[in-house]
Every structure is written in structure tokens, then in C-alpha cells.
Subunit: 244 residues, 2 copies
Amino acid sequence: MSNPSAAMLVIGDEILSGRTQDTNTNHLAVSLTNAAIDLKEVRVVSDDQAQIVAAVNELRARWDNVFTSGGIGPTHDDITADAMAVAFGVGISVRDDARAILQTRSDMLGIELNEARLRMARIPDGAVLIDNPVSGAPGFSIENVHVMAGVPAIFKAMVATVLPTLTGGMPVISKTVRLDMPEGEIAAPLGELAKRFSEVSMGSYPFVLAGRFGTNIVLRSSDTDLLAAAFDAFIVLFPNGQPQ
Amino acid sequence: MSNPSAAMLVIGDEILSGRTQDTNTNHLAVSLTNAAIDLKEVRVVSDDQAQIVAAVNELRARWDNVFTSGGIGPTHDDITADAMAVAFGVGISVRDDARAILQTRSDMLGIELNEARLRMARIPDGAVLIDNPVSGAPGFSIENVHVMAGVPAIFKAMVATVLPTLTGGMPVISKTVRLDMPEGEIAAPLGELAKRFSEVSMGSYPFVLAGRFGTNIVLRSSDTDLLAAAFDAFIVLFPNGQPQ
């Protein structure tokens, strides 16, 4: 049985302009891999309603789960919540439970829950709130789409909340071996090995380290015994391989 | 008049599994912003032909330029070149000019141009090669799609080659000089030279050849006379430089 699938939708001009290096995708990717959910596609789109709506509708139809990051703050260009309402064809308004969270937070900080902040309580009808232990303003899940903040600390906290609620398949285990050889030397014997162990995926990741070519080989399987057998066969082929 | 648009297509299971943090997108985003080209969309897809073909066909129809990274190495999972041929409906085969580049490189390194390495000379019909000063194996441009390597050092070198041709300015000419010296020996005098010739870009691409450190220097300019003057000054500084 194959694992459940997922997609990531990053919303934000600051990623596309190069001003900000996106790290949320990598965090999500690692978390999903550990949860035996396969991340199959990532998209980054700008703060543009039509682009967001089109992307989320394609992704939620194609994959089991969709995670979004960005665009749920208090400023005029934070349009993700409204775009989600359009994508799902539902209404959106300030919701009492979300407002209560923001009010509690504002009281605690001694600040005013002004109109800008109140925008963060606008939640599409039928959505379930995602707790934000960092700064209060909640994310939300609507059907299979999980809408989260772009600030990495908040994004991480929201992923930690949402992930355990999703069903994973069999966890995948991996073994990484470093070879101080260029990929071209490895390709042919690795291809042979991949044929022998068709249920062990074998990824080959070249790198240049201090001017030297090397390759990391990652063996992955959900079957521990098969992984061990493939690893042993690999080391016979490449005795100089350094397990990482 | 609005800026030309662009999309990035990252191809690679290693990004989706979280094993590798993609940095090529951010490099491209910054480079495009500096060149007044607007990056409008990014997609990451797995090493799957149907997914690559669908994504590149959507992106090349929608945006002025498409850049891809990953999947053009020698191993069985490097399927980007074949996927591009399918996307464009053209043939693909080992091309003489690409094979000659790999043969020269292999001879230089004293290694065999084996079947795995020869896969890297498979180029879709009608494509234009993109120089790879780091490890030889070329990328290629086909119509508005620029297919580049995933290894960041090579990706950067290829972006530096392709980008000036897109800005509507004068075509860029380049001269490559090989130095059998580590990059650290070259950095200071090269920096001085770069100041003297501010309109000639000077890229430095380290490599290891038979255990010794070397560096390819690529001088790029749209001004032939200025490029020649910079080249002459370079050779005065580095009389052992071997033009490539």
C-alpha cells in the first residue's frame, strides 16, 4: 500500500523576489518523511488571489493533503484566508472563537485588538482552527487543506499540531553512505543494484566539497531486513563507502 | 511596460524528501530580481516523467522563461533531458558537440567516457548547449526553457551564462581560462582585476583534477573589446592560464 500523499503551497512575494529563503518547505518535507507521508509537489505563488485559488484547487484535487504557508497576517497583502474561502466556495467572516483567542492575547500583551489584527480572526466557514502557541493568531484546516503561517517558528508549531492528526503509512527507514567518487563512476553498478533490490529506493546525490567530487547514496525502504540486505550488497560493491 | 516573467521548476526527490534544502531557487530569485525579470511561480516535482512533462508544459505556456534544476546527471533516475524531449515532442540522442565536451573532460581526467557518463550527452533536438565550467556536462536551452544542473555550484555558473542573454540586452560573450591553482590563490588578484574591469563579469569555478586543485575562470561581457582587454590583463597576471 502506498503512503498518503501531500503537497506544499508557499504563498509569498518575498520568496519569489529572493528576499527570503524559504525554509518551511524543507521543514515540512522532513516532518512528512518521518510520518510516512510522501510530499509529491511544491508550488510557490505570489500574493495574488487568482494564482492562489487556482493552485490550491489543483493541489487539493490531486493529493491527499495540502499544506500552505504564508499570507495569514494582519496586513493588506495577507489574502490567503479570503483566497481559501473563494477556492472552497464558502463564506468568510470574523469568527467568535478566533476573535476570543486574539482578544485574550491582546489583553495579555496590553495592546488593542485593532481592525488590522482582527483580520486574523477571519476564518472560512466550516474550517477547524490550528493552534498558534507562538503569537496567538490561528491557522485553520478546511477539508484536506491546512493553512499555516509563514513565520518559520509558527509554521513549525502548526505542523507539529496538525501532523499527528493525519494518517501515515509505513514509516520509511534510510541508510546514507558517502562515497568520495564522482557520480559517473557509481551510476552503472548502482543501477544494477537498484534492479536487484527493486523495493529499496536508491538515490544518488552528488556534491562538491572543497573542490572534490563526492556522492551520497541514500537507500530507503519500509522493510528493515530488505534495507539491511541492500546495504550489505552495496558495501560489497563499494568497500570504501562511509556510512553517515 | 511590465518586466518579463519567469518560473522555476525544481526536479528532484531529494528536495521533496527533505534530505536536501533547495537553495537554487533563492539564487535564481535574487539573480532574476537583479535582472528585472519577475519570478512568478516555482514548482518542485519528483523524478517522474509525467509530472515533469505536465509541469514544464504548463509553465512554459504561462510564463516568458522557465528555468529547471536537477535530473541531468549520469544515473538511472536522471530523466530530465528525456522528459524535455517528450514535453516538446522532439527526438533526443547523444549529440556530437556534447559528446566532444565530455570526451575532452574524460581525457583530461584520464577516466573512461563510459555509458553512464555518455547519458549526459543526450540532448533534445534543436536545443542549444549551456556551458558547464565546473564539471563539463552541459545543460541546454530549448525554446524558452533552460535546463540546468541541480548541484548548486554548476547551477550558479549556468544561470550566469543564460541570464544575460534574456534581458534584451546585447548577447554576452565569454572566455574561459583554466588555472592549475587553488581558488584561494586567485581570489585577491582576480578581485583587483574585477574592479578594474567593472563591466566584465568574472566567475571562478574550482575543480579537482587528478588530486590537484584547479580553477576555471570565466570572463563574460557583451563588449568584445572590453572582454579582450580584460583577457589580456588576466593573462599578464596569470601567465600560466590555459585558454579553454
